[in-house]
């Protein structure tokens, strides 16, 4: 027989047990959601660190390979091709002909070979890691600016402000490669007549700016080679803990700006620092 009217005590038992149950269940679900989201954030942060480390190591390895290639090519130019050309120059000097027109031609060729030898030596030096680290950033850039002015390709101006301080071999090498990439872009694509390079030495901040008065570009109209050249600048800067910014608009030239805190020590995953040699 069914009693349709439960007593207040029975109702109390039902209500309390149901309430306790649902409170526990809801509490568990809320706790799980909070814990899961916390774990998700933690995982995301760890993944980002891993990705950043991987990217940095990848870029570092790429730069090291590039440097090795440059050094090899520089050495080949200096030790092999330059030697052969010197030999050619000597041979030309030894040729004596009666006819003055022919002699003039030979002398002209000798001068041309001498010019090629000088150019190759300069190229070899600009590729050589040892040469750059020996001279330091400022002197190497000064040499490059002189060469640019002599070439007549562009009118280059170098401005150095502040007291020059060393930033470490690898950082200076990377900054020089950034400079080379920017100058290369200017000569190849911009059609600029004037190039302004400024090195700003402030105790807490080093700043390298390369500005040209060329045709400029808009970010979405970049072709592959120019786009990858600019990306190279940004990637190289990242490897030494610097920040590169490139600004340009059509008809307004281009400006590459690299900022580096010389006191900031970013550490590679292998425990080495970018201001030291690998």
């Amino acid at each position: 027989m069914i009693n349709n009217a439960p007593t207040s005590g029975e109702l109390y038992v039902v209500l309390v047990s149901a309430t306790v149950f649902f409170v526990f269940l809801s509490g568990f679900i809320i706790y799980f959601i909070i814990l899961y989201q916390k774990k998700q954030l933690q995982n995301k942060a760890e993944r980002e660190v891993l990705e950043a480390n991987f990217k940095q190591e990848f870029l570092k390895a790429r730069l090291e390979i590039q440097e090795e290639t440059f050094t090899y090519v520089g050495r080949e130019l200096h030790d092999n091709i330059n030697q052969v050309l010197s030999f050619v120059k000597l041979n030309l000097a030894m040729i004596k002909v009666e006819e003055s027109a022919q002699q003039t031609k030979i002398n002209e060729n000798r001068d041309l070979v001498a010019q090629v030898i000088t150019d190759l030596r300069d190229l070899s030096k600009s590729l050589s890691f040892e040469h750059i680290t020996k001279l330091g950033l400022v002197k190497t850039i000064e040499n490059e600016v002189d060469k640019l002015n002599k070439s007549g390709l562009v009118d280059a101006e170098l401005i150095i402000t502040g007291d020059i301080y060393p930033m470490g071999e690898q950082r200076e090498l990377v900054l020089f490669r950034i400079f080379q990439e920017a100058v290369n872009n200017t000569i190849k694509h911009s059609g600029a007549s004037h190039l302004k390079i400024s090195l700003q030495y402030i105790p807490e901040m080093f700043n390298l700016t390369i500005e040209d008065d060329g045709v400029g570009f808009s970010a979405n109209s970049l072709d592959h080679s120019r786009g990858s050249g600019l990306m190279n600048i940004e990637n190289r800067a990242t490897v030494i803990g610097a920040v590169a910014s490139i600004s340009s608009s059509r008809g307004d030239g281009c400006s590459v700006n690299v900022n580096l805190n010389p006191l900031l020590q970013i550490k590679y995953i292998d425990g080495k620092y970018p201001n030291r040699l690998s």
Partner: protein, 220 residues
């Protein structure tokens, strides 16, 4: 609303979920493909139960058989959701254990004409354990996707809610029967819980996508 009408709506709901599941069958992960088959089997079993009840005035034999089959299906779904090899083995063993328990229950405790509460209660306890273990696994390897967009989360929370709520319902039902109280509200409560359970399963089958699901190595 009469109980027959509610039952018809319940069957219609199962049919809709089966259609959803089979419409998205190719895109579902393996676990939820099995879940879709399970829902279709539930629809068939519930229909048979109704007819059997009309003919023999007692559909409990069907309930006894279905209790074991439903547990096996749910266990297989969890088998494909968990990644731990030991847990997988435990799940396989639990299916055989439940089968033995159901036979023992019919032989010694609840006859074929009685409600298989023992088998169902044991199943619900195991579901809670599975669900908690899966939550643990989720915490160890959280996916990038938002938790609320994960079919796994909704399925697992649904199982936890269903198993614990039905366990409470059975406990209260037993208390009500012992004290000769009207069990009508509890029956309606269980109907509501069942509706919620199947609606959420429908949602799970709608949002699951094997390509974005990174929950388990065996899930594709």
């Amino acid at each position: 609303m009469s109980f027959d009408t509610i039952y018809a709506i319940y069957l219609l709901l199962l049919l809709i979920i089966s259609v959803i599941g089979f419409a998205r069958f190719k895109r579902l992960s393996k676990a939820f493909k099995i879940l879709t088959v399970m829902i279709l089997c539930t629809l068939i079993s519930e229909s048979i139960k109704k007819v059997y009840g009309r003919v023999y005035h007692n559909n409990m034999p069907v309930a006894h058989i279905w209790a074991v089959i439903e547990f096996a299906f749910s266990a297989v779904v969890y088998y494909y959701l968990v990644s731990n090899a030991i847990l997988k083995k435990a799940i396989v063993i639990s299916i055989f254990a439940m089968f033995l328990l159901a036979i023992a229950n019919v032989l010694f405790f609840e006859k074929l004409s009685q409600f298989p509460s023992l088998t169902l209660e044991a199943s619900h306890i195991v579901y809670v354990v599975y669900s908690l273990l899966l939550f643990r696994q989720m915490l160890f390897a959280p996916a990038e996707q938002s938790l609320f967009r994960q079919s796994l989360f909704w399925f697992n929370i649904n199982m936890l809610f269903y198993a614990t709520t039905m366990f409470l319902n059975f406990a209260l039902m037993s208390y009500f029967i012992q004290n000769k109280l009207d069990v009508g509200p509890l029956v309606y409560f269980s109907v509501v819980v069942n509706f919620i359970f199947y609606i959420v399963i429908g949602v799970v089958l709608l949002i699951d996508n094997s390509k974005v699901n990174v929950i388990s190595v065996n899930n594709d």
